[in-house]
């Protein structure tokens, strides 16, 4: 197992009486792209802000590249590329100014890449940030992070507002940088289809808790979506099959389960006739975990550490 690039122990943050994040224990290995998923207000933004040291945790601690997030030394701070969802440069700043600002702190700053990225979107160096469209602003901020060639990339909704081709370019660049530069990326997003294409792992946060953290490869192998007739009773599953959630949709009941390796045949045997079993993608897995299921059980009650 490779060294953890990011580590948290019991990390939590309250805003007044509201628990935005509760006791998060997570270790993210180097060289991975982690899709950080969660409903609005689930705590993903708070998690990233705690990692980069913008906020003080109420409980627990976190480390990035073995340095405490709240006391990042100069040389470690320069290795972290952070793109906040709502954090923006001043509107009067020009693209060139922003490039110089980032280049000054990042020893590895790839000026040619940044200039290429701007040219590709027809953005002039003298353009003022405030005059750009929402998508262009996101593009500039994402390009700043990527051009810095950081060892750690923490990005909050980097693709929101980007057109499909820009989204694809952004994620391709991110993936390439992680693969070639042995970097690590944590990307919080609600556009699951895009991130699934490049992610290695997924972590799901709901109500301030990490309810799942797993390799996508394992999820694809283990998670199944079962379609039952709506009038069928919920089948009894053995110990090797974990019920993730269920939902009744028109005349069918959808059930999501995670099967231990080698227990797929057991699943098929436990299902009534007329049932169908499909592999689940990341979006299905995410919905299964975060939606309140139809039998009244709240999914966030069941925590599934890795």
């Amino acid at each position: 197992m490779s060294e953890a690039a990011i580590r948290t122990e019991g990390l939590g943050r309250d805003y007044g009486r509201h628990h935005a994040l509760e006791s998060v224990n997570l270790a993210i290995e180097r060289g991975r792209v982690v899709a950080l998923l969660g409903p609005h207000g689930a705590g993903t933004t708070t998690f990233l802000r705690l990692l980069v040291g913008l906020l003080e945790p109420t409980n627990g601690r976190s480390w990035v590249l073995e340095s405490p997030s709240r006391a990042l030394p100069e040389q470690i701070a320069a290795k972290i590329g952070y793109m906040g969802d709502a954090d923006e440069p001043p509107p009067w700043s020009t693209i060139k100014q922003l490039m110089c600002l980032q280049a000054e702190s990042s020893a590895e700053f790839d000026r040619a890449f940044f200039e290429r990225s701007m040219t590709a979107r027809e953005l002039a160096p003298a353009s003022r940030y405030g005059s750009l469209s929402k998508g262009q602003k996101k593009w500039v901020r994402a390009a700043l992070v990527l051009a810095g060639r950081p060892e750690i990339m923490l990005m909050d909704e980097p693709a929101e507002g980007l057109d499909p081709s820009a989204r694809q370019s952004l994620y391709d660049e991110l993936r390439d940088h992680v693969t070639e530069g042995e970097a690590t990326a944590v990307v919080a997003t609600h556009v699951i289809g895009d991130i699934e294409r490049i992610a290695d792992d997924a972590a799901v946060i709901d109500h301030g808790r990490v309810i799942a953290h797993a390799a996508l490869e394992d999820l694809r192998e283990q998670v199944r979506e079962v379609q039952l007739p709506a009038d069928e009773q919920m089948p009894e599953f053995g110990d090797s099959i974990e019920l993730l959630g269920s939902r009744v949709a028109s005349d069918t009941r959808l059930v999501w389960v995670r099967c231990a390796i080698g227990s797929l045949s057991e699943l098929e045997q436990s299902l009534p006739a007329g049932s169908t079993v499909r592999s689940a993608n990341l979006e299905t897995f995410y919905l299964a975990l975060t939606q309140h299921n139809s039998n009244g059980r709240d999914n966030d009650a069941k925590e599934k550490p890795k």
Binding site: L55, L72, E74, D87, P89, S93, Q97, L101
Partner: protein
């Protein structure tokens, strides 16, 4: 620590509105005030106070998205603090230097002589020469204090309004001291010593607390 020019430029740009307003206001006041200026001039004291608050607030908006962006560009907290202090000093000098030069080079006394036929014209230049240093001293006392107030208010544990009251108290004490006409020599020495201690304390404490502040 190397000076990072792009970071300094961005910080200076943050304070530009304050400088653009303060410079003409200060220059016009100094140019056209007909009385001989002394260190007890209340309008210049208010000017220094207002300018200091404007600088500290422009460089202390830790709740703004702009600062969250700036604080995540890969600069350490100490680097950011050092550049903030450097930016503050440059911002003060941008406004203070032209005003002081107007006094020292005789521009003010010439204007007073030619435009207003001021009877104080012959003594103005010599009597007013030390006054800009008092204004600079005012900046030196107030700015570290105000920066400290803004940094303290951005600490994780809120409810730090006591520090605001303390700053108000310091300003009131300065105002009272300014209203005294005659100070014995020992008292003056005491005030200078206490001011120096306060400047050093607020600078050191501000630097330490700056490492822990939260940027929302």
């Amino acid at each position: 620590m190397k000076i990072k020019m792009p970071l300094l430029a961005i910080l200076l740009r943050q304070t530009l509105p304050a400088s653009l307003i303060a410079l003409p206001v200060g220059c016009l006041y100094v140019m056209f005030t007909r009385n001989v200026l002394n260190w007890q001039n209340p309008w210049m004291a208010l000017f220094v106070l207002a300018h200091s608050i404007a600088i500290a607030s422009s460089l202390g908006r830790f709740g703004s998205p702009n600062f969250a962006f700036l604080y995540t560009r890969g600069y350490s907290r100490d680097e950011l603090w050092a550049h903030k202090m450097l930016g503050t000093a440059l911002c003060v000098l941008m406004v203070w230097s032209p005003i002081a030069l107007m006094l020292w080079l005789g521009v003010r006394s010439a204007v007073q002589d030619k435009m207003f036929v001021s009877p104080y014209f012959p003594i103005m230049m010599t009597r007013e020469a030390p006054v800009p240093w008092f204004w600079l001293g005012g900046y030196a006392i107030l700015l570290p204090l105000f920066h400290y107030v803004w940094i303290r208010r951005a600490q994780p544990l809120r409810g730090e309004n006591g520090i605001v009251l303390l700053a108000v108290g310091v300003v009131i004490v300065i105002g009272i001291l300014m209203s005294f006409r005659w100070h014995p020599r020992w008292f003056r020495a005491l005030v200078y010593t206490l001011s120096a201690v306060m400047i050093i304390t607020t600078l050191v404490a501000g630097r330490m607390l700056h490492r822990d502040l939260e940027v929302h």
